[in-house]
Symmetry: C2
Subunit: 195 residues, 2 copies
Amino acid sequence: MAPTSETLTAERILEATEEVLRRHGPAKATVVDVARVLGVSHGSVYRHFRTKAVLREAVTKRWLDRTTAALSGVVTEDADPETRLRDWLAALFAAKRRKAGDDPELFATYQVLTVENGEAVSAHLADLTGQLARIIEDGVDADVFTAPDPEATARAVFHATGRFHDPGYAAAWQRHDIQTEFEAVVDLLVRGLRG
Amino acid sequence: MAPTSETLTAERILEATEEVLRRHGPAKATVVDVARVLGVSHGSVYRHFRTKAVLREAVTKRWLDRTTAALSGVVTEDADPETRLRDWLAALFAAKRRKAGDDPELFATYQVLTVENGEAVSAHLADLTGQLARIIEDGVDADVFTAPDPEATARAVFHATGRFHDPGYAAAWQRHDIQTEFEAVVDLLVRGLRG
């Protein structure tokens, strides 16, 4: 076996897959392209990812997990629950805007992939609302929030802020008044949580 | 002049235009098709609507205004502001679901037309948030809502409920838990307004 294939990890394959997707777009990218970038046979890629669909799902999950990982720090930061809630929503909005603005082609590619991989997206949304629920629970424990069902309230907060994280609104994120809109919605929701 | 043309009103032309759009789709519908449906010359149509673009904008505005008209009754209904706010949001959601569910082809057609006619859409959104602002102002006057800037708060409520009226979410409106999601968001917003 060639040395390149010995060091072939799932992570290296996923990195190469993202690069190939960025370059060729989701319609044209193939496993052969990925293998070529890595200098390995396509069989070596299939040893890690059984099918092209499995590989595409894994790369989608990796992309989504990057946001979840970036936000998990906010959940446990040393601040009161209201501050953490505001910080978490602001960090989510910032992460999405950055993804959409810094690399629009890769963002568009992942829009196609997320439609294909509904289960990965559902798991991702459950991860995110789970983080939100933890902050809301802490607020209930600290007697600053009222929420009989923190999980349901977390979903409501997530849905109510969709304009500021749902990729369908990416065009609106460039508008000059979007930050004011974001703060108005978050203020109203925080008041609702306190109420 | 033929008798048909004597009775040719703008409203009759718009009705026929909607019918033609439904039948041929927004890409293929022409002014000649509209004239044929009405049994008049295309010159007669142009006498009312100077260009095809003007006609398409007018038919889009008419479609959007139907929703505004249906909701205006809720603004002035004889009930407390919280009930009117809940009724208004429920009526908006119901109107959008009905439009999307009852006639998906016409709904898809109007999605194309609204992208073309940004100004008509902006005016429509201003009409809707204006209605919401009136209800919120009444709540502030009755001392049941707190909102230093009812117009800004109305926009925040509108944005926070986008999942339940933005056509981009039409697919989610078929899901079994959508009504529960709607109520959770509205409850949280109403608590925020009270707070």
